[in-house]
């Protein structure tokens, strides 16, 4: 078994675009759930909008890549408004069901043949990153050292992704440590109390929904920049994985989602390589290596249960500042 090889490939995920994308989406979920108490179970939908908005903007409307990216983020704003105006008045678990259903509706709309011309239906969209890569200032070639060795194209995706993530994290950190964030946390605790103090609770919740949704769309954007866009990526499980990453790090923290995503992906990559390798050695009770690759998902589920029950504040959360108020 090539243990060093596994560690090497695992380390590569520390800077992978998918890790950055998860971190952005988990940060958005932290704004939603950790700070505003909104149970958004439709993060995959926001991410899909970011990715599809970007790809469709380029392919169907011929926009420059940065404007196409704004189309994706704008789509997330509109989705948040459509979702929020009627549902933010509903009780928490209703919001969860509405958001999960809305995200699934979006996915089915991307899957259907009716809009095949724009969405590519089951095939998804590809070959739209040309212009984005033309803006790449790095000369073609391979850079870095193992395990962080990659093409100029991938480095460009990473650099753009990390810049987006850094700006987003700084903005969220500023927001939640401001009086605005104080009101948001107050709403999480008891929105009637905040209302009785003269704050427009609905506006704050809507702002939080939009900000978190745009962060999710940024995650989808980074994913789209690094590979193809396919509705199969934006399934309900993606939302659940991002929840796991968020809760792992700590929902009511700014840096928890980042570290949570990092741990999530490093562990995913490590286990996803380790178990098949063990299976090939016949060390896993005769499981095939394909079967063994499923074990990591089982572990995600079990981990989610254990975190929520035994360490709901996450790794970095303050024990006193638990987010599970209700």
């Amino acid at each position: 078994m090539d243990f060093l090889g596994i560690l090497n490939s695992t380390a590569g995920f520390i800077l992978a675009p998918v890790t950055i994308a998860y971190a952005l989406a988990a940060l958005g979920l932290a704004v939603h759930f950790g700070f505003a108490g909104l149970l958004n179970m439709g993060m995959a939908g926001f991410m899909a909008l970011g990715a599809y908005g970007y790809a469709i903007g380029i392919l169907s409307f011929g926009l420059p890549w940065y404007l196409a990216a704004l189309v994706g983020l704008g789509a997330a704003v509109i989705f948040a408004l459509i979702l929020g105006i009627p549902t933010l008045r509903l009780r928490g678990d209703y919001l969860a069901i509405v958001t999960i259903a809305s995200a699934e509706i979006l996915r089915l709309l991307f899957l259907t043949k009716v809009f095949d011309e724009y969405t590519g239906s089951a095939d998804g969209l590809f070959s739209y990153n040309g212009e984005f890569q033309e803006s790449n200032p790095i000369p073609a070639g391979t850079y870095g050292f193992p395990p962080f060795e990659d093409t100029a194209a991938m480095w460009w995706v990473r650099i753009v992704g990390i810049i987006i993530l850094a700006v987003a994290t700084f903005a969220v950190w500023r927001l939640v440590n401001s009086p605005w964030g104080r009101v948001l946390k107050g709403i999480r605790e008891d929105e009637d109390a905040i209302r009785s103090l003269g704050k427009n609770v609905f506006t704050y919740k809507m702002q939080a929904l939009i900000i978190g949704g745009v962060l999710g769309a940024m995650g989808g954007l980074v994913l789209a920049m690094s590979s193809n866009v396919n509705q199969g990526q934006y399934v309900t499980s993606l939302t659940f994985f991002i929840w796991t990453a968020l809760l792992l790090g700590g929902a009511a923290t700014v840096f928890g989602p980042l570290v949570g995503s990092l741990i999530f992906w490093v562990l995913q990559a490590f286990l996803g390589l380790l178990f098949p390798a063990l299976a090939e050695q016949g060390l896993l009770f005769g499981l095939s290596s394909i079967q063994a690759a499923q074990i990591k998902f089982i572990i995600v589920g079990v981990a989610l249960v254990l975190i929520v029950v035994f360490r709901p504040q996450g790794i970095f959360g303050n024990k006193k500042e638990l987010t599970f108020v209700r």
Partner: protein
């Protein structure tokens, strides 16, 4: 009888608040809040059916009545937390019909809740700061630039610390509100309400669940509000507290206002005794309904 529930000094009562005989719906010389024809039904049940009531300005008015009389529902209706099926009501001459609760609060009508709503996972200081209105840093875009709100926030902190000192919570300003006792939370909630600089303070059972050691200071604080020019309307079960600090008493039963008047007179009103006790007259209401010794928790 217990001396716990009396203020430290004899309060100065406001008198001559009404015009004509003290009957339900009597007009006031200077009403701050006027409600007319308020009706609220849940299913087939009428919870509130108030024909007319006026709350006098710069006085302490008590709203009393047996359980299920509709006092809290009436509070919710007046403050926009619930909408009546019909009726009009106005605050300082401005109609409040259809005005959402947060706008009611911004007009200077602040309420507290029967079950305290201290924000447990925020610090005491953050709880206080939330009460302040017109904060620049609470706007989304300016919150991103601390230079725009830091100075105002520091001023708010001074004001909050001042109030916390008055309410003897200053030592706890860094603690999470969840760590406070039930009575301290009531105090915090009241102090937080004062951060908004209200003109009318509506307190829903301010004494419920408060440690006897704290009741005295709570009563003093309520009397203070009047001296500072505010108007107080409060729901209470404790008749001794009502007698000692209220200038005017409104009695509700089965959703209706059944009596109004100065505290000492209204207690003798047969309609009130009926409402509380049926036909058992000549019973000191305080001995029956008041909590002679107040329980630590609800």
């Amino acid at each position: 009888m217990s001396g716990n529930a009396t203020p430290s000094s004899t309060p100065v009562k406001s008198t001559g608040l009404h015009i004509g005989d003290a009957a339900p719906g009597v007009a006031k010389k200077d009403p701050i809040l006027v409600a007319h024809g308020i009706k609220r039904q849940f299913g087939g049940l009428t919870a509130v059916d108030v024909a007319h009531v006026e709350i006098p300005r710069n006085a302490i008015t008590a709203l009393i009545g047996p359980n299920g009389a509709g006092k809290t529902t009436f509070f919710n209706l007046l403050t926009g937390f619930d909408q009546p099926n019909e009726g009009d009501w106005s605050f300082d001459g401005k109609s409040l019909k259809g005005v959402p609760s947060f706008k009611v609060a911004r007009m200077g009508l602040i309420r507290t809740f029967q079950l305290t709503k201290a924000l447990g996972l925020l610090t005491v200081m953050d709880n206080m700061k939330l009460g302040n209105t017109g904060q620049r840093g609470e706007k989304l875009l300016s919150s991103l630039i601390p230079a725009l709100w830091k100075k105002q926030d520091a001023e708010i902190e001074v004001k909050a610390m001042d109030l916390l000192t008055r309410f003897k919570l200053d030592a706890k300003h860094e603690d999470f509100a969840a760590s406070l006792s039930g009575g301290q939370r009531k105090l915090l909630e009241m102090a937080r309400a004062l951060m908004t600089d209200p003109t009318l303070v509506m307190l829903d059972e301010p004494m419920a669940g408060v440690n006897p050691a704290l009741t005295q200071s709570l009563l003093d604080h309520i009397l203070d509000l009047k001296t500072q020019g505010m108007t107080v309307l409060f729901v209470e079960h404790d008749m001794h507290m009502v007698r000692h600090i209220a200038d005017w008493v409104i009695v509700m039963a089965e959703g209706k206002v059944v009596a109004e008047g100065a505290p000492d007179e209204v207690m003798k009103n047969p309609a009130v005794i009926d409402a509380y006790l049926g036909s058992h007259q000549d019973v000191d209401l305080g001995a029956v309904t008041g909590r002679i010794t107040l329980p630590e928790t609800k």
